[in-house]
Assembly symmetry: C2
Homo-oligomer: 362 residues x 2
């Protein structure tokens, strides 16, 4: 195209994903001449930088400048007004996991501000919020993309959307949706060899940084349930919430009330027998146990928990902390369309955000 | 958006993929109100339908109407003029595998006509044509999408582009790119059991419709070489042609001159010993043999041929006629991003074309 257009970017959140995104945005803005990508707003929960006249903020080093800023972020209403009145199209990139910010998406979208985010909260909370978000987008024409809310940078949501929008019938979605659970079970019940004790593997995963600070935040299955909620809704099932279907928690009842993750890890060995038994039952059938989520669309069944798989099954032979997502559809028949790879980490999560940005600015 | 826009579709080719695409287009045009998708041109090599005033052609049943048409297709120059003068944006969907039509893409693109196609010829022929296509698109702003030229509807090209455009460094691409080769080797050298004789498997694959009418058109490796050429060029290697790198043909030298595919199949058993030996060598190492293509970007090496894989490797445990494509990148580290599933067939190939259409009309 002959004329150079501007496309304005506003960012909330400068944590792990946010910092990686800033690097990718800087590289993209340097490389792309049309549209010209201008950063016009950036904030954390405490600080912000923006110019009333929408003059661009230097992207390189902005996280450090922001840390020294003395300007508090404006109230949401004021931010919406500022972005909606911008002299060029705007995208708000939410790199937080804040429910409050997620709750404000309908407001931004209704005023024509596009939204991109890896934040699962907006799409896996109440169905009313989901509905409000997509109704607002539909009405105003603003776009909302959230590829990284499932499988980080893996092409999961875009693939599901393509299947549906081109008229395929998606019958079943199944996979390993948690890097933590993947790592734990690939070590605890490997396809070759015998693996370690369950409590040892959980402690090791935590020490290697594969779990949340309190491993129970992974073992309760809620993270997987949130991702399943998002995919099920995209596939047309009006799932009410991530707690409205069966989710198997791997936290022994007796340890739910532990005061800390450390106390939990100390007491977990007392419950190894149960997991060992589950592993042995699978082995007796020549199988391995894995923590999977599945959506069966015709029967409207969503569930999350332990299942057994043949050693040759792609879900069984997963490596490291990889995710795998299988789409069973009418067109693809008995062999599913499979997407596999790292489903967590700052770089790959930011990649999903940046690829959404590329789709927004076309 | 408030106003309803038109987006005009012109189609060349009404074969297997073309017929499936027409069904998908009909469903999409019925469902989508904005932009309004209007078919304004359709042709085979012998017949055409179009109205000088760009009034829409009924999509449902158009293949049958076209078969009865007495109007020859216009010369390319006239078609370009017709489409370039249209009152709304136009996309030309080339559902043929014609080199002549591929050669005309730069002309269409330079006049602002978008192009979508599963036709490998345009992107895997001379580098001069590749260059002319993307230069014309760059200058005019017209889009050119060809997802289905590799792996049919699997998200292969879009994933590679996303990796590159978001700034990842792609180091290696490896996979099984031919449904025929996949089926042959999954049967000939299965991960469990011993498989059949090579010549029997080739005959069976032909009888089941998995090969071209003359199986040598699959066994020469050129189809895989074309796909590798496309991916290598997208990854930045200026590969001159699909014959400019090592491609292992599975046609014994002595049978290259057979007059027919039938004669070839009759004589193939005389050469089973060689393939049996290759299989046994792999088995002695606990491996299986597969026909793969690989691109190593730092060393600028592209090659196609037989390689050995551990039985637990995703390439070894592929099923049926599935394709698998692994992207090794800086961000994804030692475990690649993998896309897997059916890589041939009318429905899934048309799906890739339709998803490109969705990207074009945004």
């Amino acid at each position: 195209m002959a004329t150079t257009k501007r496309f304005l970017v506003a960012i909330i959140g400068v944590g792990g994903v946010g910092k990686c995104f800033l690097q990718q945005l800087h590289a993209l803005a340097t490389r792309r001449s049309s549209p010209k990508l201008d950063l016009v707003y950036i904030s954390t929960s405490k600080k912000s930088i923006y110019n009333k006249d929408y003059s661009p903020i230097e992207i390189e080093g902005v996280a450090e400048v922001l840390a020294r800023s003395s300007q508090a972020p404006p109230p949401t209403d004021e931010l919406v007004d500022y972005l909606a009145a911008a002299p060029a199209p705007v995208v708000l990139v939410d790199n937080t996991s804040s429910q409050d910010i997620a709750d404000s998406y309908p407001l931004f979208l209704s005023r024509g501000v596009n939204i991109i985010t890896p934040n699962k909260k907006a799409f896996s909370g109440s169905y009313a919020l989901w509905d409000a978000i997509f109704s607002a987008a539909e009405t105003s024409g603003a776009k909302v993309f959230h590829e990284s809310s499932v499988g980080a940078g893996l092409p999961v949501i875009s693939t599901l959307k393509d299947l549906i929008e081109t008229g395929d019938k998606v019958n079943r979605i199944e996979g390993v949706f948690s890097g933590t659970m993947s790592f734990l079970f690939n070590s605890f019940a490997p396809t070759e060899g015998s693996g370690g004790k369950w409590s040892d593997e959980v402690r090791r995963a935590k020490e290697l940084g594969y779990t949340e600070p309190d491993p129970r935040d992974d073992l309760n299955g809620l993270d997987v349930a949130r991702k399943l909620t998002i995919l099920a809704r995209l596939a047309g099932l009006p799932v009410a919430s991530p707690t409205s279907f069966p989710v198997q928690s791997l936290i022994p009842k007796e340890l739910e009330s532990c005061a800390s993750g450390e106390e939990f890890l100390d007491k977990l060995p007392q419950f190894d027998k149960q997991m060992e038994q589950t592993k042995n039952e699978a082995e007796a059938e020549g199988k391995v146990v894995r923590f999977v989520g599945s959506i069966d669309i015709p029967s409207k069944t969503v569930k999350v928990g332990l299942e057994k798989f043949d050693r040759g099954h792609p879900i069984a032979s997963l490596k490291g902390s990889d995710n795998i997502i299988s789409f069973y559809t009418d067109r693809y028949g008995s062999n599913p369309l499979i997407v596999q790879g790292a489903g967590a980490g700052g770089e790959v999560t930011a990649m999903g955000v940046t690829s959404d940005l590329l789709k927004t600015i076309v």
